[in-house]
């Protein structure tokens, strides 16, 4: 049910999330200013990052991207919702004693989902940007030192998008249980 809600209403969630994602993406790239937007394209709905290059980017002393260039990288918009759906599904199934506890857990889940998506979506976009430079370096027979964000992107793509919400869900439960204990004493 959450997946279906995401499919039809996910667009609004993504649009709400764009400003914090943009903020996080700014911290990942020092040579460009990222602008994120939601776009409906032929191959589906996409989250597009347009990077305005503010400092020339060099690949082994050769300019790969000049200052002022605009580069578009994108990911599938639905892909960004996967951690939300997993986290909220686990929390919806988490055993609780009362409706109030469930509401508290879901509220904690929303905050955690924001955190998880800040850790994943901007990195997926920034990683693709750097991956493009790595491809360029490979084409020109040079080498571009792989930045950490590319490794993080690979981690996210190879299971991190699932692992992070699965870790966040029990942590939300622990935090809520502790909060309840401190309130009752």
């Amino acid at each position: 049910m959450l997946s279906a809600i995401g499919l039809w209403g996910g667009r609004y969630a993504i649009e709400v999330m764009i400003p914090p994602w943009m903020l996080a993406a700014e911290t990942l790239g020092t040579s460009y200013i990222p602008v994120l937007k939601y776009k409906r394209e032929a191959q589906g709905e996409r989250l597009v990052m347009t990077a305005l290059v503010t400092r020339p980017i060099y690949v082994r002393e050769r300019i790969a991207l000049p200052r002022g260039a605009f580069i578009d990288v994108s990911i599938d918009a639905l892909h960004t919702l996967v951690p939300f759906v997993i986290l909220l599904t686990v929390l919806a199934a988490w055993p609780v004693a009362s409706f109030r506890q469930r509401a508290r857990l879901l509220a904690a889940g929303l905050a955690a989902a924001l955190g998880v998506s800040m850790l994943t979506t901007p990195a997926l976009l920034a990683g693709r940007f750097d991956l493009m430079l790595i491809d360029y370096a490979a084409h020109t027979g040079t080498k571009y030192d792989t930045p950490g964000v590319v490794y993080w992107m690979i981690f996210c793509e190879s299971g991190g998008l699932w692992l992070l919400p699965l870790l966040a869900a029990p942590l939300c439960a622990v935090v809520c249980a502790r909060w309840e204990r401190t309130r009752s004493t």
Binding site: V90, F155, G159, L161, W162, L163, P170
Partner: protein
């Protein structure tokens, strides 16, 4: 709980680390071809004998369509999550080994079902291919994996409660 989560992350990281040591050629030509693609093609031939399908390296081909299995699309992620959770949960070693073996079988079966399902979507209901591939299938696989883990972890508790 925190001890379990820390152990879970460590085991998962170790499994992912080992996974990335495996050479691409070996994965493509041996694991993906023999273990996933050829089996998927056999299942499709069994369900729809009239559909021409061929297994070539890590690609499932049918006419102009080519479904490629790459790292991350092989069910390893779900299997690693389940193995890490089972290994980190306090239980007897024999139960853990049995649980992990079933987890691998489950992850493999779910991935084959996903691959065959995606093949039919790509050939018959193309607009649904992308949403199912990147959104519905991964969340469903993880949800089912969580259900299996919960069943495995709490089965002895239920049995004790029933006695």
């Amino acid at each position: 709980m925190l001890r379990f989560l820390v152990a879970f992350v460590c085991v998962y990281a170790a499994l992912e680390g080992l996974y990335f040591i495996v050479p691409d050629d070996f994965l493509r030509d041996v694991v993906y071809h023999c273990g996933i693609i050829a089996v998927g093609a056999d299942i499709i031939r069994l369900i729809t004998p009239e559909v021409p399908v061929a297994a070539s390296a890590n690609v499932l081909r049918s006419g102009a369509l080519g479904l490629e299995v790459v790292r991350g699309c092989d069910g390893a992620g779900a299997a690693f999550l389940l193995i890490a959770a089972i290994a980190s949960y306090p239980a007897r070693l024999s139960r853990k080994l049995l649980g992990a073996a079933v987890a691998i079988a489950l992850a493999y079966a779910l991935n084959e079902i996903r691959l065959v399902g995606l093949f039919y979507l790509a050939t018959r209901h193309e607009p649904w291919f992308l949403p199912v591939h990147i959104y519905f299938a991964p969340t469903l696989v993880i949800a089912l994996s969580c259900v299996y883990f919960a069943w495995w972890a709490f089965a002895p508790v239920r049995r004790r409660a029933a006695v």
